[in-house]
Symmetry: C2
Subunit: 343 residues, 2 copies
């Protein structure tokens, strides 16, 4: 099916664009009243993730109500560890929680091997198919996964953490175990992402939410090495690598063979452009808190960002997921400002 | 009283040193069995902070047991908001909690004005005097405070947070209110630090724990501006500014008039040296998780850091506070490695 609006894909590939595309991380969910209404009828977050028709519905809501240039499938990065044999719960107000964690060889050995990803994560692929069909070519559909380091963090820690010190401890005390776990996550992730493409995803994003807690050398060895393997397994695919907090590693990220780098609001756009030249598209990087400001401030700061672009290879986004208490009207101001901007 | 070991002070001032000094952030408390034994007899953390004899005792423990080159007074950065009229509790396993927060002009107006810092924080000054006396010149005594931005974060949020989005929201929605609160915190902090010097502190450190959640422009306006005021109010004092996570702002930090910059483990020492030239001492920056590793790894990584120094202006430390579950024997390996290192 031909896309009516393929700006996002053209920007990712470095092709000519009439204007910069714009979408928001976490646009599906939380901030939209339509999402909250649906969510209130369900037992929990995971029911939504695991019910393809509903996941598709909330994926499309921001396309309908916010007029974004791309849809991103509603799902969770933690479906991958669950598929590997480490189930999780999503606790209200608290976040993810795993009953078991991986901190030893014995625990690693309890994970399932040779898993059938197509079967275990069929609900994601089904959601992608339904979404793709229902979108009817309006905008591209983005699939995603967590980067191996971030997935390891949850598998080792069992929940969120300020320091993820158990995970970093593993890198010093049992580096071979860390590498083995990272390899296994990487293998499953590659299969998972290929199946997302087969199910209709037009582009992919890797979220490395905890990249920033590793120093540059550790991130090279335990983070980027595996991202590199994923990138190389997906040649020619529009693929965004978003390593949040990894400002120190930007020069290394610039060497990756992906089409797009995600920038958080601590990463200077001009500096990133200097590093990637015209080899990559940059995505980001407004402060999510900007959307608490008045309409005029949002317009002003968005235009300031747009004016700073010295290349066509940009996709406008926030530097992190949109915060749950943001008024959707503020998001619309951002979207409209990008769409009306005359380069 | 003349100091028997003034390495820390000489390093801070850029004077000649025989070897690099070493101490650890959060060395007083948590990791030491002697601390835990004392702590177990008390009602809570705040009793320890507010009882000068006990605060002095735990301040000196790491000098006795770990052989560090400096003592840092056992206290908490949140005594400043409390002195301003915003009391806090320290909840076990949960961290700080404020019953009231400052998110409006009305709430700001409820804070006390013209406070007598010498009286309200007398327990800190008393602890410094007792410590100074008991140390008997063995090592210098460091006093400290939170940087204004980090103190604002707690006063606005009322507790820890992953994003401190309420605090950042204030910068977009009520910037004048933020500036007024920051000014008031700054004023109290300057008085507080001067009184710490008068009570016996030989050096000072400003902790800006949440510097890294601000983009560079915001940190200039809402963070560094006030740190600059504090630095200028304390000419000639050995003063370390530790802005955790603020890698993007290192070029701005390098312009400050303080003697020392603290580096976290994401900040490259060579890059920081290039920025500060010989105008400043650098403190840091081993990954706190290194202390989970075997003795041989700790030695190797510590020597690697020492070898990377291209100047005498260095103080060895971790890139963050020592984690509570670290074995003190591991800390001793680090300390000994620094002390035995032949430049």
């Amino acid at each position: 099916m031909e896309l009516k609006n393929d700006l996002f894909l053209r920007a990712a590939r470095g092709e000519a664009i009439e204007r910069y595309p714009v979408w928001l991380m976490r646009q599906a969910g939380r901030i939209l009243p339509e999402y909250r209404a649906l969510r209130a009828t369900l037992s929990g977050f995971k029911e939504l993730v695991e019910t393809p028709e509903l996941a598709a519905e909330v994926t499309i809501q921001p396309v309908d109500h916010l007029d974004v240039d791309a849809a991103i499938i509603f799902s969770d990065i933690l479906v991958v560890p669950e598929a590997m044999g480490l189930p999780y719960q999503m606790l209200e107000q608290k976040g993810p929680w795993f009953e078991n964690t991986i901190r030893s060889r014995e625990q690693l050995n309890l994970l399932d091997t040779h898993i059938d990803v197509a079967d275990r994560l069929s609900y994601v692929f089904e959601a992608l198919k339904i979404t793709k069909n229902a979108l009817n070519g309006r905008v591209p559909l983005i699939g995603f996964a967590g980067a191996p380091w971030t997935i390891l963090c949850y598998m080792v820690e069992g929940k969120g953490s300020k320091t993820f010190s158990e995970s970093r401890k593993l890198l010093y005390t049992q580096p071979e175990l860390a590498h083995e776990l990272l390899s296994r996550i990487t293998e499953v992730t590659i299969t998972y992402l290929k199946l997302q493409l087969a199910a209709g995803a037009d582009a992919l994003q890797l979220f490395d939410s905890w990249a920033g807690i590793l120093g540059r050398e550790h991130y090279k060895v335990f983070g980027l090495k595996y991202i590199q393997q994923i990138v190389e397994a997906l040649p020619g695919v529009p693929l965004t690598v978003f390593s949040k907090g990894a400002l120190a590693s930007l020069p290394d990220l610039a060497e990756l063979n992906c089409t797009t780098l995600g920038l958080d609001w601590n990463m200077d756009v001009a500096y990133a452009r200097e590093l990637v030249k015209e080899t990559k598209t940059l995505q980001g990087n407004l402060d999510p808190c900007l959307l608490y400001a008045d309409h005029s401030v949002i317009e002003k700061e968005t235009i300031k960002l747009l004016k700073s672009f010295k290349s066509q290879r940009h996709i406008v986004n926030l530097g992190h997921g949109v915060y749950p208490d943001i008024d959707p009207e503020k998001v619309k101001v951002l979207i409209k400002t990008v769409k009306n901007y005359e380069n």
